[in-house]
Each structure stands twice: as structure tokens, then as C-alpha cells.
Symmetry: C2
Subunit: 238 residues, 2 copies
């Protein structure tokens, strides 16, 4: 069972399934190419196959899964080309978000950004001190998503946020961490870049904020591209 625990309200099953599955896939619980069987999902969550099928279909519409007719859904295997494209669009969107944020951010939100920068620093320190990279993955991802969440809130354009979220969903988040965790130098650079962005926003320098964000995402893209795992065609059963 992967239930959330709280009593489920009527008419919310599909919503819960979709959210939960999206989260689990993003966290890398299901390897790329894994077949998501209706019956398995239904059993896992204690529901029938109808809502399971609905949730899987929604995840396909969201770009998380791919559908093979009469064979079902599996976790999408983004091609190197697709990954590059996603990063390029992310750079444009987040760059604009940083630009907007520089002109609108509140003191509270700015402080929130600084806290996450500090969070990145702590993770870097822990890695340098030999902490288990798997254990600090969660706090790293937490700082990462909080930073971006705050950035987009400060930008004040929810459509911009949604467009970026749709892109995030196309790449499992764990990919980034798998690449970064073994490379303290890149980790430090990553933290530095977040500080650059935050500083530019604090200075209310929109152009610089945009430029720093684009540079940050392009650096991340290069790192990922260089460390792409070799694709392995997913098995059909299982």
C-alpha cells in the first residue's frame, strides 16, 4: 500500500492516484521504461482498475508516461535530445521568472531564497565531510524545489509556474542528483549559481537575474548531458 494515510474523500481517488504516482515516478522509484500495469497500480492503492487506468491516462497527458496501444503505459525514457530541449525551455522560463521576481519579490520571499542557498551550502559541506550521498539527496531536492517554488511565487505568474512544472515532470528529479552527488566541485558551483541569482534579485537587477538563471540552467544541462546513462530498452513483461 502506498496510501497517504488520511481518510480519502469521495471523488478524490483518481486525483490522489495521479499525484502520488507522479511523485513516486519523479523520485525515481520506478526506473525509466518500467511498465505501469493497471492491475498492479489498482492493487497497490486498493482500488479497481478503472481509477488506475484513469490516473495512468492523465499521467500520459502530462507527459510523464508513454502509451503503447493495447500494451499499456510505461515510464517515459527521455532521449538526450529531449533532455536538452527541456533544459533549453527551462532556461527561458526560469530566466523570465527570475527577471519578474527581481521586480516584485517581497522581503519574506527573499529571505526564503537565502535560506535555501544556505541549505545548498549545508549539503555541500556534508558531502565534503563524507556524508552518504543517498541520505542528503532528500534535503538537496527539498532546497531545490523550495527555491524554485519561491522564485515562481515571487514572479507572480502562475501560468509561467505551471509551464515550468510541466517540464520538470518530464525528467525524473533524481537524475540531476545522481549526476551532482559524486562531484563536489559541481555541487559547489551549483550553490554559487543559486547565490548569484538570489543576489541579483536582491539587487532588483532583473537583467542580471535572468542572465544568471540561464547560465545556471545551461551549466546543469551540460553536466547532465555529459553523464547520461546508456539507454537500456525496457522489458515488455514485469
Amino acid at each position: 500500500m502506498a496510501d497517504t494515510g488520511r481518510t480519502r474523500q469521495s471523488g478524490q481517488v483518481v486525483e490522489d492516484l495521479t499525484t502520488s504516482l507522479a511523485e513516486r515516478i519523479a523520485n525515481g522509484e520506478f526506473p525509466l521504461g518500467t511498465w505501469m500495469r493497471q492491475a498492479k497500480v489498482a492493487e497497490d492503492y486498493g482500488v479497481s482498475r478503472t481509477p488506475a487506468s484513469l490516473a495512468l491516462s492523465r499521467l500520459e497527458a502530462m507527459g510523464v508516461l508513454e502509451r503503447v496501444p493495447n500494451r499499456g503505459f510505461r515510464v517515459r525514457y527521455p532521449s538526450p535530445r529531449e533532455i536538452m530541449e527541456v533544459f533549453e525551455v527551462r532556461a527561458v522560463l526560469e530566466g523570465h521568472a527570475a527577471y519578474l521576481a527581481a521586480g516584485r519579490i517581497t522581503e519574506v520571499q527573499l529571505q526564503q531564497l537565502w535560506e535555501q542557498v544556505a541549505g545548498f551550502r549545508r549539503v555541500v559541506e556534508m558531502i565534503r565531510e563524507g556524508a552518504d550521498s543517498e541520505a542528503v539527496g532528500a534535503p538537496w531536492r527539498h532546497s531545490y524545489s523550495t527555491f524554485h517554488q519561491t522564485l515562481f511565487e515571487a514572479a507572480g505568474n502562475s501560468q509561467l509556474h505551471e509551464a515550468a512544472e510541466a517540464l520538470y515532470r518530464k525528467l525524473p528529479r533524481k537524475i540531476s542528483w545522481r549526476v551532482l552527488r559524486g562531484d563536489p566541485r559541481s555541487l559547489t558551483q551549483h550553490a554559487d549559481e543559486h547565490e548569484d541569482i538570489t543576489t541579483a534579485i536582491e539587487m532588483r537587477d532583473g537583467a542580471k537575474a535572468r542572465q544568471s538563471t540561464i547560465a545556471h540552467i545551461e551549466a546543469a544541462r551540460e553536466l547532465i548531458i555529459a553523464h547520461l546513462p546508456t539507454p537500456e530498452p525496457g522489458r515488455t513483461r514485469g
Copy 2:
């Protein structure tokens, strides 16, 4: 029946339903706020309620419909705020597409853009000559979507294209035409702006192409905002 006519392949019903409904909604066939009943959709397409429900759920995931628990789906009523935000993100995305296109476009694609510019001119001419605005709405929308389709193809980033498409779906296309059709001056300006963009791309001037595109979309946004219809709360039955 709103079937496409060709024999339906097995395992394609939901796909067809989703595409067809998205198209019909985008074309304004269902007024904003209209309730999309499962039974009605199922009957219209000669299928059971299961695939109808699936298609509606997918359309919600795509941002076309909104869901009210235990009451169903209805065509989303974008708020003025949301419309403004969509246009702002469109400006960023399409601006970047124009920038990329300037560096990569082929001769054939460039010619395609010019053809659509000519198409806009023809529509403007027909309106000036007193043509029925409803009748030339279709060719106008055709030129519009072909122009953008070609622009994004030339940009060569399918993620960029998908992100923009997702935004288009959030606003019924007929809205734009309803605003423009009664205003020959704006129509002419619209055509001029498309020509500016195409010229910049032809000159391989990426910065200018981006700037022209952003100016174009911002002009469209201002026009739409100024002509927003007064929202009328959708009825619950019907």
C-alpha cells in the same frame, strides 16, 4: 455524431475523443462554462461512458476543462488575470522560438511563413470589402496556426512547441478572432507584425525576430484585455 469518418482503429477511441473534443472546444463550439456531460459525449460519439470519462479527464489534465467533484467537467472560464499571464508566457516562448528560427530556418519553411503572411493580407482585404467576418474566420485561424506551426518547426525544439501548445489550449482561439474581426485597423497591424517577424527571420536577425514577436503578442494581449466579455457564471444544468 462527430466522428472523423475514417475507420477507427482499436485502442484509439480515447485518443480520437480527446483530440476531437479539444478541437471543438478550441473552436468555440462549446461556450465557456458549458458542462461536458459524460453521457452526452458518449452518445455523440457512439461509445460508452468509460472512454468519454477518460477523454474528459485528460482534457482536464491538459488545462482545457475544469473538474468539480461529483458534478463533472465544464469548459474553463479563464479569468482576465489568467489570460494576461498566458499571453505573457506566450511572448517569452514564441519570442524564443522566433530567435531560434532565425538561425535555423530552411528556405521552404521561410516560404511557408510568407505564404501565411499573404494569407493574412487576403483576409484583411476581404474584411475591407465587406466579407462576412464569420466566413473568413476559418482561413484566418488557418493562417495563424500554420504560421506558428512553421515557426516552431523552424525553431527545432519540440518541447518549446509543446509548451506553447499547452498555453494555446487554455484560451479558445475564437476569442482572438471575435476581437479582431470587427477592427480592420488592428487586423492590418496584426498582418504587419507577422510580416515584421518574418522579415527579421529572413534577415537571420534573431534578436529582432524575438523583439518583434514579443511586441506582436503584447499588442494582441492589450487588444484582448480591452475587449473582454463580461463573465457570466455558468449554469449548472444543461
